[in-house]
């Protein structure tokens, strides 16, 4: 996982440079790209932080890039910078689930707030993704039988019911159950259920 950065994509050099100057004054890591194409070339799925994207650019527009990223299942939050008359475009982008948009000329405080919110959101999302990944890995370590037992525990079946359903003795179910709780690192059934849900997201 790379460092969280603000990826700025704008065709206007002064805009890029000045944004970098501003954001760095708040201690943010900034990466600049002169076009959507340049960003796509550099893009990797473990990018984190947020994207600041100019809507109107020659070649690939900000909206085009946004769609491309969605197609690649990127969850990077995106802030659109719009100019006069681009509002309808930005609205349609927002409807598609874009993080936010800010109209030029913008208040630097607003911009910083937005970026920080996005960074935070991305961080949260990243940790959640990490937890989910752990849960998934733990789930992977279960044997076939343990998995079957787990599935039945999660839907709220009692040991007896599980034993009947799987055609095994209650004792065996209990052994499996304690192994599952151990492997999954859960202290209660409620925790177990949460882990299973995470692993499935």
């Amino acid at each position: 996982m790379t460092e969280p950065r603000v990826h700025i994509i704008d065709d206007d050099e002064a805009m890029r440079d000045s944004l970098k100057w501003l954001l760095e004054s708040r201690g943010l890591e900034v990466e600049l790209y002169p076009s959507a194409e340049a960003f796509l070339r550099a893009f990797s799925s473990d990018f984190c932080g947020c994207l600041v994207l100019d809507v109107r650019m020659p070649g690939m527009t900000g909206l085009d890039l946004y769609e491309q990223l969605r197609a690649r299942a990127s969850t990077l939050p995106v802030i659109f910078i719009t100019g006069h008359g681009d509002v309808p475009m930005a609205v349609s982008a927002l409807k598609q689930g874009a993080a936010d948009f800010i109209e030029k000329p913008f208040n630097d405080q607003d911009m910083l707030r937005l970026i920080e919110a996005c960074m935070k959101q991305d961080r949260a999302a990243a940790s959640k993704r990490a937890e989910n990944a752990i849960a998934a890995r733990r789930l992977e370590s279960l044997t076939q039988r343990e998995r079957e037992v787990l599935d039945l525990i999660v839907v709220g079946k009692l040991n007896k019911q599980i034993a009947d359903e799987l055609g095994i003795s209650i004792k065996t179910v209990e052994v499996h159950r304690s192994r599952v709780m151990e492997k999954m690192g859960a202290n209660s059934v409620a925790e177990l259920v949460q882990l299973v849900l995470k692993s499935r997201s």
Binding site: A14, M15, S18, L19, W21, L22, S25, K104, P105
Partner: protein, 766 residues
């Protein structure tokens, strides 16, 4: 051919006849000659035979010794006396000496006992050798000329005892043995073996060359020849007379034949010419479309030609010999025709001919013009009247048609609003002018000088591409000049075209067509003014576009400046900075400030050029002008434009051109929107009314497909378009313009289908 052959045969026959006659005559002469020659030869031979007998007798006597010199003398002299053709008789002994000799005349060449000539010696040797009589060859004796001798041997047994010799001078033989009648008739000559003439009886008379005969003279032999030729006698003339007559008569006959032939040829030629002339006349008569009819002094038809027969449909035989009323008189015109005939027979027929109506056999009537002329026979006496009849039905029809076509032509030309005249090139006189021309230049224009008449509006002939006077008819029609001129008198503009054409009489003339183009020119002028205004408007449109991009463009430097600035502020507040870093950022910020200033200056420069000019504008006028521009599109699309403006509508306060542009845009959009509407429903209505106290509202309603409910606001967004070639700025700018005038532009659905675009404009401040 045959006459020529006959003449040739005749000539040949005559030649043959003459030749035969001549031949027969010659043959007869030849036969007589031969007879006479034989007779002469016979005579000579007889004499020489008797000479031989005499010599042999005396030689026998001498051998027997019965001859003495005197007896020899006597017997020889006696014999010589009766045979004068011999010159001498000589007795020669065996020793070749002359024993005795007797001469016809005194003198004996051999008296001395020697042989003077070699031929004599040769003869003697031959006789002594053979003991047979022998003739010597001819030798020339000094006295007698060519002579030969006859030697008879004297022998007893084989004992040669000499010879008796008789000398035959040829001249003597000719003189004495040939009778006088023979000599008169023939030329007798002797030649030796070499063909040399030895002797001849006479050469005084001319010889008839063809008539001669040669024979061997033997004895004496030795190759001697006797030649006889006939004299040409005077009797020949008598004999050639018939030949001459025949020849002369033949020539006469041939000459007359020749003359006859020439005469005949002349006659044939004359006949041919006559036949040709007759055929020509007949053909002429047959081909002539004019009918000919002759009547005698009693009014009986004596002659009709084929054309007349064809005209009236009767056969020639049905007409000849007929008297009035003629079968080709229509019953209803009998009286007229009778009167005409009476006049004609009286010699009162009008010279210019008379028009009459004739009846065809099939009942058809037709009009003719009849000319009568006296018919005079070979003796100079008038034999009747010859009438030539012309069918004038076609002529009348053609004349009527021509008149009608002229009428049409004049109607068309007078109906034209272009002024047309035609002028001759020599005198420049106007030959023709149409009504439009006369209306401008006066109704007395024809015949006057064209330059003087058209002085108010005439092109300069120096600018013509060709001098019309030099053009030949085959070079026409030729466009000479095409220009636009203003008539100085009425101030209207004309397109003046000059053409060289061929006039009806064949000469080259000049035709001028002046088309009134004043309206077109005015329209063009109007158009160019509109164009100018349109250009101004398009600047405004561009400004609208700029206004849209201006915001974006200006945002860039402004945002950058703010960013640089806040970046500095943040660093200063946190007390975490390097001065040179801040300096660089500040410098960058001022560069961006400059950039923003440049953008604003550019826009200001642009706007300064296209300042709107607001005045009091009558909306009805604006609508009218906008429709003027859209009319072509409307006509193309088959759309109707209805306008409804109350006459008391107050004036609006606006830039006329800008509003016109908005309206034109809306009208065009409306027309295009009705593309899929059935033709009959394509109606665009423009109306205007007061909207409250302060505004005028203008509505443009179409019957098109309308706009989907949610889309109406998007229409006004920039870059929104439903047209493949559209910019998507039209309505956006329109709204900008209207809003610039403090008005509003909006769209609602037309209750009857389609859309209504409306805008408001403030009333002009009073």
């Amino acid at each position: 051919m045959m006459p020529n052959v006959a003449v040739a045969v005749f000539i040949l026959a005559m030649i043959a006849l003459v030749w035969l006659l001549q031949k027969r005559e010659f043959d007869q002469q030849m036969a007589a000659l031969r007879r006479d020659v034989q007779w002469a030869e016979q005579t000579l031979r007889l004499h020489m035979q008797s000479d031989r007998e005499f010599l042999e007798e005396i030689a026998r006597d001498a051998a027997d010794g019965g001859v003495s010199n005197p007896s020899f003398q006597a017997r020889a002299a006696q014999y010589l006396a009766i045979n004068p053709h011999l010159s001498s008789i000589t007795w020669i002994d065996a020793a070749k000496a002359v024993r005795n000799a007797v001469m016809a005349t005194s003198g004996n060449h051999a008296a001395n006992g020697s042989f003077a000539h070699w031929e004599q010696t040769q003869g003697f040797m031959a006789v002594r050798g053979s003991n047979l009589p022998i003739y010597t060859k001819t030798y020339v004796s000094e006295r007698f000329g060519p002579t030969f001798e006859f030697l008879v041997p004297i022998h007893r047994g084989a004992n040669f005892m000499g010879a008796m010799v008789a000398a035959y001078p040829l001249s003597g033989m000719l003189d004495h043995l040939v009778p006088a009648w023979f000599s008169e008739k023939y030329h007798l000559s002797f030649t030796d073996a070499g063909g040399k003439l030895l002797a001849a009886n006479s050469t005084a008379q001319p010889l008839n060359q063809g008539l001669n005969y040669s024979m061997n003279f033997d004895p004496p032999g030795n190759g001697m020849q006797m030649r006889i030729a006939g004299y040409r006698d005077d009797a020949d003339l008598v004999k050639t007379l018939p030949v001459a007559l025949i020849t002369g008569l033949s020539f006469l006959v041939i000459w007359s034949l020749w003359s006859l032939r020439n005469n005949l040829a002349r006659r044939i030629r004359a006949e041919d010419a006559l036949r040709a002339e007759s055929n020509f006349r007949k053909a002429m008569e047959e081909s002539m479309p004019t009918g000919m009819r002759a009547i005698d002094m009693q009014g009986r038809i004596t002659y009709v030609n084929a054309a007349f027969c064809k005209m009236v449909g009767h056969a020639q035989a049905d007409l000849i010999g007929v008297t009035a009323p003629f079968p080709y008189w229509p019953p209803e015109c009998f009286a007229e025709h009778e009167q005409t005939l009476t006049h004609t027979l009286a010699g009162d027929a009008p010279r210019g001919g008379i028009e009459a109506r004739f009846l065809r056999k099939n009942g058809e009537r037709f009009d003719v013009r009849v000319y009568e002329a006296p018919l005079v026979d070979a003796s100079g006496r008038q034999a009747g009247w010859m009438a030539s009849i012309h069918d004038i039905t076609e002529q009348r029809r053609a004349r009527a048609e021509l008149e009608a076509s002229h009428q049409r032509f004049m109607t068309v030309l007078d109906g034209l609003d272009a002024a047309i005249y035609v002028a001759g090139l020599e005198a420049d006189e106007i030959l023709f002018a149409n009504k439009a021309f006369k209306n401008i230049y006066g109704h007395d224009a024809v015949g006057r000088n064209c330059w003087r008449v058209t002085s108010a509006c005439r092109p300069d002939p120096a600018q013509f591409i060709a001098a019309a006077r030099k053009l030949a008819p085959h070079q026409t029609p030729l466009e000479l000049h095409d220009t636009e001129l203003q008539n100085r008198l009425n101030g209207r503009w004309y397109q003046v075209r000059e053409r060289a054409i061929q006039w009806v009489d064949g000469r080259v003339v000049r035709m001028e067509t002046a088309t009134d183009i004043t309206d077109r020119r005015n329209m063009e002028e109007l158009n160019s003014q509109q164009q100018e205004r349109l250009q101004q408007t398009s600047r405004l449109i561009t400004m609208g576009e700029m206004a849209s991009s201006l915001a974006h463009e200006l945002n860039q430097p402004l945002s950058a400046i703010a960013n640089y600035n806040m970046g500095c502020v943040n660093r200063l507040q946190a007390n975490d900075y390097r001065p040179e870093e801040l300096l660089a950022a500040m410098q960058k910020a001022s560069v961006q400030a400059e950039r923003a200033g440049k953008i604003i200056r550019r826009v200001r420069d642009f706007i300064r050029k296209s300042e709107p000019n607001r005045t009091a504008v009558r909306v009805a006028e604006v609508i009218e002008e906008a429709i003027g521009f859209a009319e072509l599109d409307a006509r193309k699309a088959g759309a109707r434009i209805d306008v409804s403006v109350p006459p008391d509508l107050p004036a609006a306060y606006a830039d006329k051109i800008m509003i016109e542009q908005v309206l034109l845009n809306l009208v065009k959009n409306g027309i295009e929107a009705m593309h899929d509407t059935p033709r009959s429903g394509r109606a665009l209505s423009i109306s205007a009314r007061a909207n409250g106290k302060d505004f005028i509202e203008v509505n443009v309603a179409d019957r098109g497909s309308g706009v989907p409910a949610g889309q109406s606001e998007r229409l006004f967004a920039p870059f929104y378009t439903t047209k493949p070639e559209g910019m998507g700025m039209g309505l956006n700018i329109c709204r900008s313009i209207i809003e610039f005038h403090h008005g509003r532009l909006w769209m609602v659905a037309n209750p009857g289908g389609g859309s209504v675009f409306s805008f408001t404009l403030p009333l002009s401040p009073r």
